[in-house]
Symmetry: D2
Subunit: 456 residues, 4 copies
Amino acid sequence: MFVESIKTPGLAQLSYLIGDGNEAAVIDPRRDCDDYAQMARQRGCRITHIFETHRNEDLISGAPILSEITGAPVHHGPNAAGDVTYADTVREGDTFTFGEMTLKVLETPGHTDDSLSFAIYDDNFGEQAVGVFTGDAMFVGDVGRTDFYPDRAKEVAGCLYDSLEKILSLGDQAILYPAHGAGSVCGDNMANREFSTLGYERDNNPMLQIRDRDKFIDRKVAEHHEQPPYFRTMERLNLKGAAPTRRVLTPPALSAEKFDQLCDNAVVIDVRGISAYLGAHLPRSIALPEDMIPAFAGWILDEQDELLLVAESSEQAEAAARHLARIGFDHVLGYLDPALPGWAAAARPFDSVPVVDVDEVKARVADNGEQWSLLDVRGRNEIEEGVVSGATTIYIGHLPQQLEQLSKEKHYTTMCASGARATIAASILRRAGFQHVDVFLGSMGAWQAAGNSVTQ
Amino acid sequence: MFVESIKTPGLAQLSYLIGDGNEAAVIDPRRDCDDYAQMARQRGCRITHIFETHRNEDLISGAPILSEITGAPVHHGPNAAGDVTYADTVREGDTFTFGEMTLKVLETPGHTDDSLSFAIYDDNFGEQAVGVFTGDAMFVGDVGRTDFYPDRAKEVAGCLYDSLEKILSLGDQAILYPAHGAGSVCGDNMANREFSTLGYERDNNPMLQIRDRDKFIDRKVAEHHEQPPYFRTMERLNLKGAAPTRRVLTPPALSAEKFDQLCDNAVVIDVRGISAYLGAHLPRSIALPEDMIPAFAGWILDEQDELLLVAESSEQAEAAARHLARIGFDHVLGYLDPALPGWAAAARPFDSVPVVDVDEVKARVADNGEQWSLLDVRGRNEIEEGVVSGATTIYIGHLPQQLEQLSKEKHYTTMCASGARATIAASILRRAGFQHVDVFLGSMGAWQAAGNSVTQ
Amino acid sequence: MFVESIKTPGLAQLSYLIGDGNEAAVIDPRRDCDDYAQMARQRGCRITHIFETHRNEDLISGAPILSEITGAPVHHGPNAAGDVTYADTVREGDTFTFGEMTLKVLETPGHTDDSLSFAIYDDNFGEQAVGVFTGDAMFVGDVGRTDFYPDRAKEVAGCLYDSLEKILSLGDQAILYPAHGAGSVCGDNMANREFSTLGYERDNNPMLQIRDRDKFIDRKVAEHHEQPPYFRTMERLNLKGAAPTRRVLTPPALSAEKFDQLCDNAVVIDVRGISAYLGAHLPRSIALPEDMIPAFAGWILDEQDELLLVAESSEQAEAAARHLARIGFDHVLGYLDPALPGWAAAARPFDSVPVVDVDEVKARVADNGEQWSLLDVRGRNEIEEGVVSGATTIYIGHLPQQLEQLSKEKHYTTMCASGARATIAASILRRAGFQHVDVFLGSMGAWQAAGNSVTQ
Amino acid sequence: MFVESIKTPGLAQLSYLIGDGNEAAVIDPRRDCDDYAQMARQRGCRITHIFETHRNEDLISGAPILSEITGAPVHHGPNAAGDVTYADTVREGDTFTFGEMTLKVLETPGHTDDSLSFAIYDDNFGEQAVGVFTGDAMFVGDVGRTDFYPDRAKEVAGCLYDSLEKILSLGDQAILYPAHGAGSVCGDNMANREFSTLGYERDNNPMLQIRDRDKFIDRKVAEHHEQPPYFRTMERLNLKGAAPTRRVLTPPALSAEKFDQLCDNAVVIDVRGISAYLGAHLPRSIALPEDMIPAFAGWILDEQDELLLVAESSEQAEAAARHLARIGFDHVLGYLDPALPGWAAAARPFDSVPVVDVDEVKARVADNGEQWSLLDVRGRNEIEEGVVSGATTIYIGHLPQQLEQLSKEKHYTTMCASGARATIAASILRRAGFQHVDVFLGSMGAWQAAGNSVTQ
């Protein structure tokens, strides 16, 4: 009797392979789902069922694809926003058995109307649940967001409250298996801890300390979460079922000449690390380091864009293509090999972005010139904890749409928490034709570590 | 500038990834062809062309599948037996460039009418070929079989002679890259050596020592080769292009109960080692050790059979399914887990086959009883080198069709070279209802090592 | 903040890598311990501490070896039977921090005098433990054995009772991380479940339902556990620190000729599956399937024996050598390649063992002949649940020392639960010169599944 | 019968596993030599012999280490500069057999006095060699350097001429297996092709077209090769036998704080890509991208230096440590995780280096100012093909020792072929206290691609 978690980096999504004897189930598979079948093989199991805790909005579900591979049916909750064409509907109290493990369905709406939790039991022992898969209802240190039905904000927050009560009633002994870990956009305050129990959460999860239903609702309604535009695509695909990924995700290696020919009709994204972009990059390329793709590609790229990658290696290009495929960006034409300095050695143009440190920024702030502005691209929750006095604030995700708020005549220094998102922002500005852009490396981290104050 | 060979075990088929700079080609890809794309990735290449030396008859071509994955076109020779729908036609003298390597097409019919060879050149050096891909025209220590056009036997043998002359004219310095190595049914006398050159073969390959065209033709026409019935399926699929393999080849693990339910309408094949089958096996199962599948499945199984596997482990089941997929057997329902003794512990029936050693066989031969017969299942070429006096000979591949030559009243001891094919034969007899069957373990190897004589 | 468990198959030993940020610790590493360093690398951690829950008696500790590799100190409990030369001593209440995770030492003697448990805390949350590493004190569904100090049986059983109370006082919410899972000789009744919590165990673990200290002591004192003789070697090595394994564990492949030369002074163990041994094996070889090595090698082999392996493949030979190395058998000279039938094809001698099924055994039992005996080699706890009437019982582990209880004049049919241990037993008898031996395949499983009764 | 080549990247060193049946040999193993044993396992072989073509000066030999692992003896040529303590001496005509393959020793001095070649033969065929391992005597497209005995320059060049004649006399059909491929410092003009034969080289290798012994000697004596100072260390270690590498090469991950503590007594090397260093790096760190370590670490680092790494990931840190270990740099204390921008976010200092393009450099050259200088760090052979007018030339390897030729008052723009070595040079200047340094990205490649002229 086993539970194995499979974490999708960047999205911090957690899927699970569970089973006993020769039978196994997968909960919330991601799009590139061959791995589950391989893991089941190593456990000596065949996959007999696939469960979804809810219709995912932040990544493409692999459920219909894994179902095709394995022949196992997909089970989904009632009340999805549309017809989940690849799944049948399960309801409160339905049970499924794998070897001597039994899984029982709980309807736990709130995050979405179709949200389910799944409690698991060891048939050889007593009647208590040993664990529970909570989807996006309960996380380690946080609970699910409830902002997907703006018209029914209070109603769904109340639903979530009731669902959490239902989950907690399984008992303190139950191990918690949520659908996301720290780093997901599905919750801002998750603990950086990969394991917990209902008992531990009941006493320690800040949201579960709010024992009053109305106060809980008020708190949830007041929360702010970002919704990247690609969520809409995910929701659509996760009703009708997305196509499998390509069998081989590695983009082809392209010579400088070949790459150049394709550039005009494609978006060039530089998936190397932040520093590499700053040092030298292709003009008009967008900085989107491989591990930041899951969080930011959905804000910046359009589903239909043809993409060209600048990468350090074929491995990095493949990793980038995998991240992109998980959220529906399949049109990767290839990657530049060799990247810089090979590109430059053919006398092709390149660019770089200067970095400035905390002392320089402090001096500029003090100088308070009209032609310079500090552009802070952090999210609303971070901004609310304080900004450098005088900074302009536009969330990185909104920047492509709000460039008209800025002036190409001015000199901008971008900042965020450390300098990573600031570099993405700088690349967006540069691509849009802003000439005077540099990056505050270290950003708010350095600002505060150096003892400077913030305003709220 | 590189050449990497990819060997398909069992079939001893050799395919190649070649390339330079960012560009690569694949020659004669097999059906499970994701590997080529991965290898190209590691070399920093994109695959720009796929070549076939001829229409394969012993395995499913991966050319149309790899073409789909990579977008690269497939190139095939003229005069295929039908229309190779997935390829364009290339001819003598056509050239293709990869970085600074050039590939040049030679028409080298004989083995088949559409056979091509491909010479490769280093553009930075002189005009000599550095290597040549000879398909099934020339092997290390042997040349291609010419028995596929029985009506034109002499004509095609003469074609091969001329093609070999053409290949040798590339010069002694050229490295030989054939489409098969030792162990293939495409040649009986290949050397057990993975590397050679035209110069070495010119002086050492026995077939190339026959410098007279007519004598060469006589020699080829007199050769005997087996043609397993699945060759017909391969030829058909390799004109129209076969479907890709399943993304995950591992068959599902099946409990004894589940397995039993499926048994009636399926063929059970025992892919464990020879000894394991002899020790204990499921009644009516056919012995077909995993590594013998490529050579013998095509004789024993029908394309439409639903298959159930008895395997030691999921890894072995997967390896078996992979071998089966490469030659077109896709209907694998699952494998028994646990196998023996788990099956027996549920009081389900099992069988075993006794083994006898050389002393026992010698005594039986001397005894010369009417009720006992030694059944030698080796191939014609082996039989011609000598048999145990009095043995009945039926080639293992023909056994399923020629059982009526044997009597169920008699006691048979099966033999081959070592005991492996003899065990497969014993399993065929047992499945057909023969009661008195045992296996001469060690077989002709032991017979001769013990100093016994053979008759011809 | 993560906990990763690493399971050593066969021994069902569980070790753990835990950590947060850049810092990690390993709990109870096994001898082949490069894996821990690799896993830490993948987590972006350096290993700063190594902990042992107690001095292991069933496998070689990797703590001193991993300490040498990483530079991290080893921490061990007080009151080890001797001086653990490679470790310092930690005591109740000592704490260690990894990133924002804190580990706290609990002294929990009983299984051994030096037994420790380690509770872990998330510094960002409340004061409750999130998990506890219990070593051999508490398992999923069972508690530790207390038979290592026969003179102090009641005392140490009482210690364990108190230790369990101490552990449970951490609270229902704590996740349980024991040092063994189902299949270990360190507990007979562990659940076949890889996850649990203190809360679940408090209500469901049968041993924890005994709330009376004296009754608990009586129950523990009445238990029977086997102690393989190699435990003494492990205890010795785990005080002074064993040497690392060889860097490459694969034994060399040996031709039949070479193998034969080495046979006289070595023990030949056949690590293939049970069926393969039954079908054909080298005379005098001992059946010890690769996956049964951890459980039975320590009963049958002597620390100083030079070992030769018969294996299906180099992978299997390597797996066998790895199992052997983990329990201190380092003298593996090589493996036979090819095994059967290649060995037989050189006219070298081989043997086989007949199998009999439940019907045949039933008939023999009914026949009740003097010259035949059923030899049941299961353990005492299994025997107590019932035997076939008339069977002789000797535990497989004791068989090599108790052969004088049997007569070489008689015919023995060996049995166990399924036929696996029965095959090992048959091989021991054959090696000792017993001529008339066969194996009841299916054994007690088949006996009962076929509806036959047992006597107690 | 097989030959597998194992390439050590960066050094472009080629070692080989060869064998037949159950027996194999390794030729010129590198220090991290577990791989050979694993490969032999996959081939079903045991390693029975280890051969060295000569005492390596550019990397640590793994021969004594592999000998310890496998028990196989090491064979080395006569006349090594000292006593190769771990090897016995083999001489012209000695033969060794592996299955049905025979290896025969040829003494082929010239590159070194102890240089051997090894011809291989297929015992089943004629008397010609099928292949030859030429060590550093003959390469694809080039021959070995002969500058290691300056006092005997003409003598050893003549020796090499004679040795090449001896090798060529094996016949055109022999496949060439050299000890280095393109990219090695052991030859400047090797072809970028991984395969060749004696026949192809005889007609196409430029050095083998010099058919006059005296002209050959003159040509060799006139050649220029660099000798990095670490060659001395390698020569010393390869007489007495170096220690094995650490079992786990991954350096520990270090937090910014921990890293900072260790900085004072260590050399910080930045193993990220060139662009990343240019964009942002730790002050005083040396740019040494992971894949450039083999070529340049031996010039810049001292054997005793304690090293700290700045890497993008643990994988990159491990790759860097592996490269370092192969050439004797074992004192790697750890790597910074997270690197930039994490380091900056703690308000720790960082630096960057500006890049300039070909237009800017052209303008500066035209301007011809006194305060600016173009510093070209390419090697002598490259310099001889032309430089930008007015450039100062110091080979990158000599730069650390020749800084006194430069003035800290001046502004330097470093250049090489593409900008990679120029970045290393810039980091050396910056570490030495030069304030005004930038890098000509694209360098000579861009200069010429843009149509600018060079002077000689």
